[in-house]
Amino acid sequence: MRFHPQYLAAVKACLPVLPGVLTFGAISGVAMVAAGMPHYLAMAMSVLVYAGTSQLAALQLVTSGTPIAIAILAGLVINLRFSIYSLSIAPHLAAAGPRWKPLLSYLLSDNGYAMALRGYEHPLEPPDKIWYYFGCCSAIWTSWQIGTFAGILLGTRIPAGWHLEFSIVLTFLGIVAPTIRDRAIAAAACAAGITAVLCWSLPLRLGLLVAVGAGIAAGMLVERRQ
């Protein structure tokens, strides 16, 4: 079997990020088992959903008594960032055949998007761009699934006293804190956080959605002032 050279180049370029992807996959696997999911369901979730942060957030909400519909809605809000990536990467993938586009869409991830864009800093022909994207995203997909599988197997053996559930909160901090690079985004984060605390007692965890709305509004207001 021979691989396309741009596919191999992409996999090679992604090697440095794969250990991190493996680790987060493992954390997500552990968290799913800790939330009471049977092993096969946790693996099914990882393959069908393939969106670690929304999986963890939705599970966290469900285990703290939130209705499923609200948890799914929260997952959708978290996954909205994929539409930003989708919008930004679509011109590079426009030459792909219609049968490939659903697969290319499914494979889109935070790291895959970032690595593909980095690769596009060198000029590439349209078919090469598609192979390059496919290489990045499939390497990351494979590492994520292997990590999740390992985490699921480990899951029940980790003592509750380690407070591993806090690692989910820390993962979110690790994702969001570096993105706060200007005043408007800082305003969005502050407004959302404060509103979420103030609206905590609203039924059905609606406070979460109110907080996201308040955050986006605050960010856009501050941006307009600048």
């Binding site: 979730m45 809000v77 984060a189 979460l208």
Partner: protein, 106 residues
């Protein structure tokens, strides 16, 4: 068990649709400027709304002080994440800080 399946199927749809949105579904749709501007704030707003209550609330009421180990560990981890952009380091340092502060509070 049905609840977990519902959650999985719901999340599978709500993760695929945003991914496919512009690659597959609306490849030719011009995005309104206001929507494009608001998308930029989505990640910060969502993650902040989820994690701030986890740090600040204890059993549903506001708990800000040196006797709240989750808050202290969260502030430290947030500063590390902001400075280093290294998620793995953030998790390791935050977990160590949580256990250290919990030990000190006792």
């Amino acid at each position: 068990m049905t609840a977990f399946w519902l959650l999985i199927l719901g999340l599978a749809l709500t993760s695929f649709i945003p991914r496919a949105s512009f690659i597959t579904l609306f490849a030719r749709w011009p995005v309104p400027a206001l929507l494009q501007r608001s998308l930029r704030f989505v990640p910060a707003a969502v993650f902040s709304a989820i994690l701030v209550p986890e740090l600040v609330l204890t059993a549903g009421s506001v708990h800000i002080g040196l006797d709240n180990p989750r808050l202290l560990a969260g502030i430290l981890a947030g500063a590390i994440a902001w400075r280093t952009r290294n998620t793995l380091l953030t998790i390791v340092a935050g977990m160590l800080a949580l256990h250290l502060f919990s030990y000190l509070v006792k």
